[in-house]
């Protein structure tokens, strides 16, 4: 059983993670750790008692986001999942994390190299599942024979374009929830054989 002190320690760590996630989503990754500490109601030193460095904190936050993504996708590559199911799952995660994800793709090149590789790893994991599904459907004759990487990049291209121009597409409400169906149906009809 965990001691009271351990439970307390975990809860403080989680509070820092949750606060950092929220601040990064709202204000971007240049937000200071002092700002995060203040918002979380802990001392600045406490942040570094839980995370050795800023990189550590960033890796943890982005890692958590990616774990949720990976978990959602892992079961999807099974033969029962359709491409539509897969795109729905992808959109759902992005809808749940829209502000954070937009910051991540906008500021990605400014992040420490190690953190950027975490992002790249995650893209590879999504690409792996996407690839399995698309290859299966090409074999079944339901999807056009286009190089899989172009299908992958087209799907991401559509989503990122809407996110990057959110102020034009949907100034007053989250953009992905509003256009999710249209994006999915358009992509599906473009790739259908």
């Amino acid at each position: 059983m965990k001691s009271k002190r351990e439970i307390q320690k975990e809860s403080t760590r989680q509070k820092i993670i949750d606060t950092a996630y929220r601040i990064y989503a709202m204000e971007g990754f240049s937000s200071s750790t002092a700002r995060i500490a203040k918002e979380a109601g802990v001392s600045h030193g406490t942040v570094f008692a839980h995370f050795q460095s800023l990189n550590d904190l960033l890796e943890c936050i982005i890692g958590e986001f990616q774990i949720s993504l990976a978990a959602e996708f892992h079961d999807m590559a099974e033969s029962s999942a359709s491409i539509s199911d897969f795109l729905d799952a992808h959109l759902k995660i992005l809808i749940d994390h829209e502000d954070f994800y937009l910051r991540l793709i906008t500021e990605r090149s400014l992040l420490p190299e190690e953190v950027q590789y975490m992002y790249a790893d995650n893209q590879s994991a999504i690409a792996h599942h996407f690839n399995l599904l698309m290859s299966r459907e090409m074999k079944n004759g339901t999807v056009k024979e286009v190089p899989v990487h172009m299908l992958f990049n087209t799907w991401f291209g559509m989503i990122h374009y809407y996110l990057w121009n959110k102020d034009f597409f949907s100034p007053d409400e989250p953009v992905l929830a509003r256009y999710a169906e249209e994006l999915k149906h358009t992509f599906l009809s473009l790739i259908a054989k």
């Binding site: 590789y117 790249a120 590879s124 690409a127 992958f152 990049n153």
Partner: protein
């Protein structure tokens, strides 16, 4: 849940394991046809090729991503211990 020591893939189902052998610590993609785990070089080449094919990235960039990903995996710890 097990995670592949060589590529980090979660292994939940029997089909995730080489030959369905759930005792293995590496996944079906990291196994050679004879069931043994592929070498560092084989894994690096395989991952680089996969990144290029699935995402269309440049070869040098894809290799950098593959190597950085391998740095975090237990199977290749000795390869990076000199760093």
């Amino acid at each position: 849940m097990k995670v592949c020591v060589a590529c980090g893939m979660p292994m939940e189902k029997k089909t995730d394991f080489p030959g369905g052998d759930e005792q293995k610590d590496y996944c079906v993609y990291c196994a050679r046809p004879d069931g043994t785990m592929r070498s560092f070089e084989e894994a690096k080449t395989g991952m680089t090729k996969f990144i290029m094919e699935s995402q269309g990235f440049d070869e040098a960039a894809a290799e950098k991503i593959a190597v950085n990903s391998m740095k975090r995996l237990p199977a290749w710890k000795d390869q990076f211990s000199h760093e």
